[in-house]
């Protein structure tokens, strides 16, 4: 017999605690915590070099483990996350107009800013940097932001403005305290979250991320972007 009021209350309570919405919020916070540790704790409290590299891997691996374990636990397929080709052009069509407008805006802004300078700093012109930044880093960020945060935000608020703004806010705030980068990533977050909800394709988003990053660093002076540094490293 389990029809007493107390039992029913306990079941309600358990249901509330283990609801996917509650869990989705915890998942987003857990991922944000890992990034915050990487950006704000590891660098000031470790020694540059091997120690920093090893310590930096801890929160990165923790975040990756969370995303992979969560994918498994939630029963998500790679295709659902956006690792697919069938909707690449659909995503590209959604991205292109906004990317062109954003590029023109950045170009105009670049001309208006004092000490305008075209071209990325020399360190970013090396093939290794191009590969790592252009492909790997953009994809990793989009995988984290869309394949994880966006999907959990949708569990919380459903498709639409609410979840898109949450994704953009998370993306922008993770670029604290770099003001220019926060604004740019908030706007980028809005666009990419919007497109992902209509055509979830991480490859198109990663490509867009890379191209927009390149246009950003080629148009806006590095003195303002501060080498795209975030967290404690900004100082």
């Amino acid at each position: 017999m389990r029809t007493t009021t107390g039992d029913a209350q306990r079941e309600d309570s358990a249901e509330a605690v283990s609801s996917p919405r509650w869990l989705a919020a915890c998942e987003i916070m857990s991922l944000v915590a890992s990034v915050v540790v990487a950006e704000w704790v590891v660098l000031p409290f470790t020694q540059r070099g091997a120690e920093l590299a090893v310590a930096g891997m801890v929160p990165v691996c923790a975040a990756l483990a969370l995303m992979l374990f969560s994918r498994q636990a939630q029963g998500e397929t790679w295709r659902e996350l956006g690792l697919r080709f069938d909707n690449f052009w659909q995503a590209a069509r959604l991205l292109l107009p906004a990317m062109i407008v954003a590029s023109l805006l950045m170009l105009a802004l670049g001309f208006l800013l004092p000490k305008f300078q075209f071209g990325a700093p020399r360190v970013r012109q090396t093939p290794v940097w191009l590969f790592v930044w252009g492909i790997g880093w953009g994809f990793l960020q989009q995988f984290m932001l869309q394949g994880f945060v966006n999907r959990r935000a949708q569990m919380l608020f459903g498709k639409g403005v609410g979840s898109i703004v949450v994704v953009a806010l998370v993306f922008g705030l993770l670029h604290l305290p770099n003001p220019w980068l926060m604004v740019v990533t908030f706007c980028g977050g809005l666009l990419w979250a919007f497109v992902y909800q209509r055509a979830p394709n991480l490859l198109a988003l990663a490509l867009s991320h890379s191209v927009m990053t390149w246009i950003l660093i080629a148009t806006i002076p590095d003195t303002l972007l501060r080498g795209l540094r975030v967290g404690y490293n900004y100082y």
Binding site: S18, V41, F45, T46, Q47, A55, A62, L66, F69, S70
Partner: protein, 169 residues
């Protein structure tokens, strides 16, 4: 509030456990980093003493326990204001302190800048570098030294165009 039912699947208790475990491990990791940082940056690895302090000179000895042979930068503060810096790189070789010399004690000496008459407190700090020279902290030698500069002698010295100040301990 509408939420996407297609994305919601049966919650897994293993995911809840994973998130809790991750939070605990990350907290321990942060604590480890902070404690390790504090130990390496602020834990005192120096010993020493001020043997002489007056209006002209502050001198003494110090031992860097971690690297006794390494010359160490030292700074003199008089009444909590920076006065001079020096490198302790001369081994202390005195018959009375053979043991200290063997342990790697180094002598240090500062020329004291001109002081007005009054009472002073001299503190000597060892500049401790950590974090691959990214961080520098000052670690005080255990005992400060107090001395007094005589007013009459100070004024006389200044009138003569110099700063040879009589000091008393």
């Amino acid at each position: 509030m509408m939420f996407d039912k297609n994305l919601m699947r049966k919650p897994r208790s293993s995911l809840v456990i994973f998130i809790i475990a991750k939070a605990i491990l990350e907290t321990l990791f942060v604590i480890f980093l902070v404690v390790s940082f504090h130990y390496r940056t602020f834990y005192s690895r120096f010993d020493g003493r001020i043997d002489e302090a007056n209006g002209r000179r502050v001198a003494g000895w110090m031992i860097a326990e971690a690297e006794p042979s390494k010359p160490v930068e030292m700074q003199l503060y008089i009444n909590d204001e920076f006065a001079a810096s020096s490198i302790a790189d001369r081994p202390r070789r005195s018959a009375a302190n053979v043991e200290l010399a063997q342990e790697g004690a180094h002598k240090f000496a500062f020329d004291v800048p001109p002081l007005a008459a009054g009472n002073y407190e001299a503190r000597v700090y060892v500049v401790h570098e950590s974090g691959g020279d990214d961080r520098r902290t000052l670690q005080a030698l255990p005992q400060p030294a107090r001395f007094r500069v005589d007013a009459e002698r100070s004024e006389a010295s200044e009138l003569n165009g110099g700063f040879v100040i009589k000091a008393t301990e």
